[in-house]
């Protein structure tokens, strides 16, 4: 066991406090775990120290990301505060920079960035700041300085046709920028003799880096959860208890209390049946921004459910189940739907009333209490008859009806939105334009809305 140096314990507790302020749930038991863990790894090894602490207090990938950001910041500030306290300063920090000219420096930095050596980058960041300072271009604002230095050094991440140097790796340049920022901060603290106030993490920094492909993956993940929820929810209590199968094992077990005579029968729990899902998706211009998202939801749903029929509508409704089953590539699907959907008649404005009438004719017979209808749309009828009574009949036939609206709840029923006409008939209506909302939808229906839950 290695003992933690005195003075570290309060710092760790303060660090955990800071984690809590950023929304990580760090319990006392976790802090105790952290201490226990840190006694088994040498605290002088920064990588091990950090990993051991992370393993005990950051319990998800998002938490881990926040942890990384806070860890750097907290211990940097702690070290600087200590240095201020003891009046330690580095007089000779920029030694040697006079001998380097800007071109040499630029070359050295490019190389360090390409090789990705942290120590080297840090030293060069200091040199760059010194060289920059001598030219008298420092603005005193750290963010501005970082960008100016970066521009002076010509570190671009986009390949440009006129530049003879090749583009650098974005992550590596970001790392170099972090060093620059850190060193500038250090200089500032030393000059002013005090720490700048600490600010909470920006939401932007905290979020995991995403790309469109990842968004699609997130949709897929939410839909996988949705599948599990829909499959197990609300069906258990439907219908009478007929055709129940006796569970021999449990009956025998229960019979022990009566001396081996099976007085009470135990039944096997009923397996939930596979849900049938009908998804209706508005693809008109008023929901253009949302319809890409909706189509990707639909796309993901098709991956997860076998008994799924999907429809798109504007003025008329059209079944696109087949398109989704045949095509895999999302872009091709989007194209084919817009080309072959045949859902816009003349005006290109959504006509919900007509859509219900058509849907009712097309499908009403297939609907039964086991089916779930999900409508993705903004309920903007462009002033046409909403035919809420037809929708009510559809909702009545189906076991459950959910409405996902791509507009914030605030905008519902403003203008030509007739959400109020439909809302009483659905099991639940949700606002939904991000994967987070989608997950929320999944959670809410998983949380057991007043559906046949006893």
């Amino acid at each position: 066991m290695t003992q933690l140096p005195p003075g570290l314990a309060p710092r760790l507790v303060a660090f955990c406090d800071e984690l809590r302020r950023e929304g990580l749930s760090v319990g006392t038991s976790e802090i105790l775990d952290a201490f226990e863990a840190l006694q088994t790894v040498p605290w002088t090894e920064p990588a091990d120290f950090r990993e051991a602490l992370a393993a005990t207090v950051a319990k998800s990938q998002e938490d881990r990301r926040a942890f990384e950001l806070l860890f750097d910041r907290y211990f940097f500030r702690a070290a600087e505060a200590e240095a201020l306290d003891r009046e330690v300063s580095e007089d000779r920090r920029y030694e040697g920079s006079e001998r380097l000219d800007l071109d040499q420096l630029r070359e050295a930095i490019r190389q360090a960035i390409a090789e990705g050596d942290d120590g080297e980058m840090r030293d060069l960041a200091r040199l760059a700041i010194a060289a920059f300072g001598r030219r008298g271009e420092g603005s005193g604002v750290i963010g501005v300085d970082v960008q100016r230095i970066r521009r002076t050094l010509g570190l671009q991440t986009q390949p440009r046709p006129d530049a003879e140097e090749e583009a650098l790796d974005r992550d590596q340049v970001a790392r170099f920028e972090r060093h620059l920022r850190r060193e500038l901060e250090r200089g500032l603290i030393e000059r002013t003799g005090q720490l700048p106030p600490s600010r909470p993490l920006a939401e932007l920094d905290r979020a995991l880096p995403t790309s469109p492909a990842q968004d699609l993956t997130a949709v897929h993940r939410a839909v996988t959860q949705l599948k599990r929820r829909l499959a197990t929810l609300g069906h258990e209590q439907r219908g009478r208890r007929r055709g129940a199968v006796v569970d021999m094992r449990r009956t025998m077990r229960a019979s022990l209390e009566t001396g081996g005579v099976p007085l009470r029968l135990r039944y096997r729990p009923r397996r939930p049946r596979r849900p049938e899902i009908y998804v209706l998706c508005d693809v008109s211009t008023s929901v253009t921004s949302a319809s890409v998202f909706f189509l990707s939801v639909l796309h993901a749903l098709h991956d997860s459910f076998r008994k799924l029929r999907s429809f798109v509508f504007i003025e008329r409704i059209s079944e696109v189940t087949e398109v989704f089953e045949r095509e895999r590539d999302f872009r091709v699907i989007a194209e084919r739907i817009s080309r072959e959907g045949g859902v816009a008649d003349v005006s290109g404005y959504t006509d919900y009333g007509r859509v219900w009438l058509e849907f009712g004719e097309l499908i009403a017979e297939d609907l039964d209490p086991r089916s779930t209808v999900i409508v993705l749309g903004d309920a903007r009828t462009n002033g046409r008859e909403p035919h809420a009574e037809v929708f009510a009949r559809i909702a009545d036939h189906a076991g459950r009806t959910f409405w996902l609206n791509p507009e914030p709840r605030l905008y519902w029923n403003y203008g030509d939105s007739v959400m109020a006409a439909y809302e009483p008939h659905v099991t639940a209506a949700f606002e939904c334009w991000t994967t987070r909302h989608l997950e929320n939808f999944v959670n809410v229906i998983a949380g057991g809305k007043p559906l046949a839950e006893t």
């Binding site: 088994t40 790894v41 990993e51 393993a55 881990r64 077990r253 895999r328």
Partner: protein, 326 residues
């Protein structure tokens, strides 16, 4: 009471707090001294752990805390548990989770057939004349399931609870007693305590958010797909005859495939399988024709195959261009 050899540490009545690490002396053998030790011994059994994985494995052994491993499918979460079991020469007890898993299948069950026979024997006067209630609720009539087996094992074991996210929250709640105190309460019998400290590894594919209570009791490890260089090492460890340049090419292609939005991205095990297949075929480069013939090893869905052939296959170039390797 000769039958009590299996579950010797049953304590009847109220549960008193149990102090972990009591048996430290008996467990010190085989206890690693440093993170590097763990890394080395894992490597010795064919598992190349990265820094965080080795550290968490070390902490798990040292502190006796369960480890929750999350990450995409096929990054070696389950394999990590197996490797720990091999490296520490502990037996591996595995509990595969699925929807509807209940305590009768995870913890213990009463052997009702045997109990019934006993009762009947009593009633017909063939028994030993001691028809007390206690009698049919003792260890003789208990069927151990993985969790109880791990707790009651005389030698330290590695308990793998695989895909915990597949079960429901109620099951998680049931696990809490096992994970924090390493004990199981059986209403008819009392509390069964662990005699040795099992290493517990829980894996999750992140398909559902686990409860705070469970996470709180675990060390957390996020495993991701390894970087190119480490995956090359892994592939070369399992297919040592593979040419270095070819291994690099293979891993780069696999990484390219993982970038696409697939139903099932290729796992590390599949990279290894692919490497072995290439060895068997005697291929010395991955060009589009080799790729076409063998890609079913790394891509398993028909729709995925189309997508991969479309996006990756064309990038590889024809056979005549494939002179880069070698």
């Amino acid at each position: 009471m000769a039958k009590h050899y299996r579950l010797a540490c049953i304590r009847r009545g109220t549960a008193a707090p149990y102090h972990r690490g009591m048996e430290a002396s008996s467990q010190d053998r085989g206890m690693p001294q440093s993170v590097a030790d763990v890394k080395e011994s894992l490597e010795g059994v064919g598992y190349l752990a990265d820094e965080p994985a080795a550290l968490v494995a070390y902490l798990a052994l040292k502190l006796g805390k369960p480890v929750l491993v999350e990450g995409p499918a096929g990054v070696g979460k389950t394999e990590l548990a197996k490797a720990i079991s091999r490296a520490t020469s502990r037996a591996l007890i595995r509990l595969q989770c699925y929807e509807g898993l209940d305590e009768a299948k995870a913890l213990y069950e009463w052997n009702y057939r045997k109990q019934l026979l006993r009762i009947q024997a009593e009633s017909t006067g063939e028994g030993d004349g001691d028809p007390t209630w206690d009698h049919i609720f003792n260890e003789e009539y208990l069927l151990t399931r993985p969790l109880l087996a791990a707790i009651a094992a005389p030698d330290p074991v590695v308990l793998l609870i695989d895909e915990i996210d597949k079960t429901d929250q109620e099951f998680e709640a049931m696990l809490l007693e096992v994970l924090s105190d390493f004990q199981i309460s059986i209403p008819e019998l009392g509390v069964i305590e662990a005699r040795t400290q099992p290493v517990v590894v829980l894996t999750s594919n992140n398909s559902r958010e686990l409860t705070e209570a469970l996470k709180r009791r675990c060390l957390y490890l996020w495993l991701d797909y390894p970087g190119v260089d480490r995956e090359i090492e892994i592939v070369r460890l399992h297919a040592p005859e593979l040419d270095e340049a070819l291994a690099r090419r293979l891993v780069e292609v696999v990484h390219m495939v993982r970038q696409l939005d697939l139903k099932k991205p290729p796992s590390i095990a599949e990279s290894i399988d692919w490497a072995r297949a290439l060895l068997l075929l005697g291929a010395d480069d991955i060009d589009s024709s080799v790729f076409e013939r063998t890609m079913s090893i790394i891509v398993k869905h028909r729709t995925d195959i189309d997508l991969v052939a479309d996006r990756v296959g064309v990038k590889l170039g024809g056979p005549q261009l494939g002179e880069a390797a070698g």
